[in-house]
């Protein structure tokens, strides 16, 4: 294959990109699929590209990987192979749901509507392993904390001849591997403005995304999340690889900018070097700097404009009266906003809890199913429904209880603009916590009696309901 020779030239980390690039190119035109891929029984649709999957991991345990140049290789050895597959959700529902003979046709039709590619943390370790790696392994989906999606090779993918160029650009584009990388990249991308524009093309053709972020991030570093924008908007290429900024990161940014003499004089490269944050690229800094500049200059210019427009009459005592009214208006607006915020928080917590319970109950249900199957093979089906009903009942009572508690306490009357909302949130929170603990205790109780027959379980739930609904 023409791809092979090019692969061998590339740098180690880059290899995985090339692989991804290669397979990306290959999968777009089904004829070029290398034979090993098509023969695999696990029904690979197309290999998934990920660099930020790597990044995601990097940031979740940044100390481990940060200094290791060969980190992609290391990491992938450590982790169980993450095979390309369609989605976690599918696999949990239907194993190997995809027909083997799946052709790129399916995805080309989908891709004509939605050109973006989801990725998975697929990339392999080293070249020789590449062909063996993803396909013969089983698909352990659930441990993946990355977002899974399908790679949809864009129909705009160039002919396979072009991919070596892309591969180069993929390297320069990839920012998330190691600190060394970011240095190399910043130099490369700054030194070569052409690369930027070709990156745009690249990203159009091979959009990458990794919407997932790890929750255990160190607060000082941001996270690199690849979130592909619309593939049609190639002009906003800087938005493709998204960095999730935090206030701490921004502080570091501001410090660096100030050291360099202010937002006008600071250059992205300088700021990047000063900040010394892994995974941050010149790209991110550049766009952030732009935003920063706009934010600073906009208020100043509008202020000046306002001053020019201010006529003498407005400076009279009328101003003061309007000032008071304005303040009151602002207060009212604030109250409404606070109210909305409060409700959103409550709603969000409820949603989280509902899902948590759903998951927990599902687990219990599965457990019971298993034990049920062992004991009474034929009746496992009938066990389902009563359990589900009691689960629903439990959840219902839970949600109802919580919400009644919350809305009783959030009686911020809008007619009274005095800010009492601060006071009401505290008792609400306390009740919420008390209720949560009560629920958890009850649920734990249920857990120990998993082997019980459904009727006794229902009794338990009823009891729980009764205690919570006096």
């Amino acid at each position: 294959m023409e791809t092979r020779p090019a692969l061998s030239i590339q740098r180690p980390g880059a290899r995985q990109m090339n692989i991804c690039g290669a397979s990306g190119a290959l999968s777009s035109s089904s004829t070029v699929l290398p034979s090993p891929l098509t023969q695999q029984p696990s029904g690979v649709i197309s290999p998934l590209y990920s660099n930020s999957g790597v990044a995601g991991h990097m940031f979740s345990s940044s100390s481990e990987f940060s200094t290791d140049l060969h980190f992609p290789l290391v990491q992938l050895h450590e982790q169980p192979p993450q095979s390309p597959f369609i989605s976690q959700s599918i696999d949990s529902g239907t194993s190997a749901s995809l027909p083997r003979s799946v052709d790129s046709g399916v995805f080309q039709s989908a891709s004509s509507n939605h050109r973006r590619a989801s990725n998975d943390s697929w990339c392999t370790d080293s070249l020789p392993d590449f062909l063996d790696f993803p396909l013969s392994s089983t698909i352990p989906n659930n441990h993946l904390d990355n977002n899974n999606g399908i790679v949809i090779p864009s129909e705009n993918l160039d002919k396979p001849n072009d991919w070596p160029d892309w591969a180069d650009q993929l390297i320069t584009d990839n920012d998330a591997l190691t600190s060394d990388w970011s240095q190399l990249l910043s130099d490369a991308s700054v030194a070569n403005p052409e690369t930027m524009s070709s990156q745009q093309i690249l990203e159009t053709n091979f959009p990458v995304q990794e919407p997932h972020i790890s929750q255990q991030l160190p607060t000082t570093s941001g996270e690199t999340c690849n979130a592909a924008g619309q593939s049609s908007s190639a002009n906003s290429a800087s938005a493709k690889q998204r960095m999730r900024w935090t206030p701490e990161l921004h502080e570091a940014f501001v410090d660096a900018v100030n050291k360099l003499g202010g937002s006008e004089r600071a250059t992205p490269k300088g700021v990047l070097k000063l900040m010394k944050v892994e995974g941050l690229t010149i790209y991110h800094v550049k766009s952030h700097l732009q935003k920063y500049r706009t934010a600073r200059y906009k208020p100043e210019t509008t202020e000046e404009a306002e001053k020019k427009l201010t006529s003498i009459e407005e400076l009279s005592s009328l101003d003061l009266k309007t000032g008071i009214e304005l303040t009151e208006a602002l207060r009212l607006q604030m109250e409404v906003q606070k109210r909305l915020h409060e409700q959103l928080e409550i709603q969000r917590n409820l949603q989280l809890r509902i899902e948590e319970q759903g998951r927990y109950l599902q687990m219990m249900f599965e457990k019971q199913c298993k034990s049920g199957m062992d004991l009474m093979k034929g009746t496992s089906v009938t066990n389902e429904n009563p359990l589900k009903e009691s689960a629903e009942a439990a959840q219902n009572s839970l949600s109802n209880n919580n919400l009644e508690v919350e809305s009783d306490n959030s009686k911020t009357k809008l007619s009274n603009v005095a800010a009492t909302s601060g006071e009401t949130s505290q008792p609400a929170k306390e009740k919420q916590i008390a209720l949560e603990t009560a629920v958890l205790e009850n649920l734990e109780e249920d857990d120990t009696d998993v082997a019980d027959s459904p009727s006794s379980k229902r009794v338990k739930v009823d009891r729980y309901e009764r205690t919570n609904n006096p």
């Binding site: 369609i86 989605s87 976690q88 959700s89 599918i90 949990s92 529902g93 239907t94 749901s97 995809l98 027909p99 399916v106 989908a110 939605h114 973006r116 989801s118 977002n147 899974n148 399908i150 995304q209 919407p211 929750q215 999340c225 924008g229 938005a239 998204r242 999730r244 900024w245 935090t246 206030p247 921004h250 502080e251 501001v254 935003k291 934010a295 208020p299 008071i324 009214e325 304005l326 009151e328 208006a329 009212l332 607006q333 409404v336 906003q337 606070k338 109210r339 915020h341 959103l344 709603q347 969000r348 949603q351 899902e355 998951r359 919400l403 809305s407 007619s415 009274n416 005095a418 601060g422």
Partner: protein
């Protein structure tokens, strides 16, 4: 169609730059209907794959929009803090008063925008959950639970940072606003608030609150995954504050 209608309303009433980034609920619903009506078992896998793919695309859309806004908010927040510090140091000058008034307005609008972003996150999540529920119902699939677990971890749903910024905003209010006056000022305040309409933010906030209330008014398909109804004790006031869209003359 109730949620769909509500969502559409919300979108129409949302800030102009935001309108393209909401969930394409209607389209997804259509797809679910298509899938359920025309899918022999062989096709199911493919169809589900496509569906999931579309959902992922939607999620990407949310994520990138959300993170973009979040970044702007972080920058703006810092700016506001600096401005407040500067003003506090300055003592009583004419400029100071003007700047303070401006800062007040900015803080409130900033706060409002952030809350609206949370609302954005929430409504899109709700839409996703509903679509998934529909999908499972129609196709007998089990897509919902695992997919939602994944959604819960997405940037657009992990709004802790925004929440924190909002609270910080609320805390700085006391230092920037004079102590609250008696009720006498409030009626005037309402009218002024309407007049201000803070770049549409206030309008949007009211709309969002009311929509939320409407959406949770107990539906026919109430289940264990439904949220219980909301009761606002003073929703009548909210209604008077609502600015209805102008009647369009064809």
């Amino acid at each position: 169609m109730k949620f769909g209608k509500r969502l559409k309303q919300q979108i129409e009433q949302s800030l102009p730059g935001w309108r393209d980034y909401f969930l394409s609920y209607k389209d997804l619903k259509k797809l679910v209907r298509l899938i359920s009506s025309a899918s022999p078992p062989l096709e199911c896998g493919k169809a589900e794959a496509e569906f999931v793919c579309l959902l992922n695309d939607e999620i990407d859309k949310f994520n990138s929009f959300f993170m973009e806004q979040e970044e702007d908010f972080i920058i703006h927040h810092k700016e506001l803090q600096q401005r407040i510090e500067k003003v506090m140091e300055n003592g009583i000058e004419k400029d100071y008063k003007e700047e303070l008034a401006k800062i007040r307005k900015d803080i409130v609008n900033f706060h409002g925008e952030m809350v609206l972003l949370m609302n954005y996150s929430n409504i899109n999540y709700t839409g996703l959950a509903k679509i998934l529920k529909k999908y499972d119902k129609r196709t007998g699939g089990v897509l919902r639970l695992p997919f939602i677990q994944k959604v819960l971890e997405q940037p657009f749903f992990t709004t802790d940072l925004i929440s924190k910024l909002i609270k910080e905003c609320e805390n700085t209010l006391d230092s920037v606003f004079p102590p609250s006056v008696s009720d006498a000022g409030t009626l005037r305040g309402e009218k002024e608030a309407l007049a201000l309409a803070g770049e549409g933010i206030f309008q949007n906030t009211v709309a969002a609150l009311l929509t939320m209330q409407e959406m949770r008014r107990g539906s026919s398909t109430h289940s264990h995954f439904s949220l219980p109804p909301l009761k606002f004790p003073d929703s009548d006031i909210l209604h008077t504050l609502q600015i209805l869209p102008p009647i369009q003359i064809p």
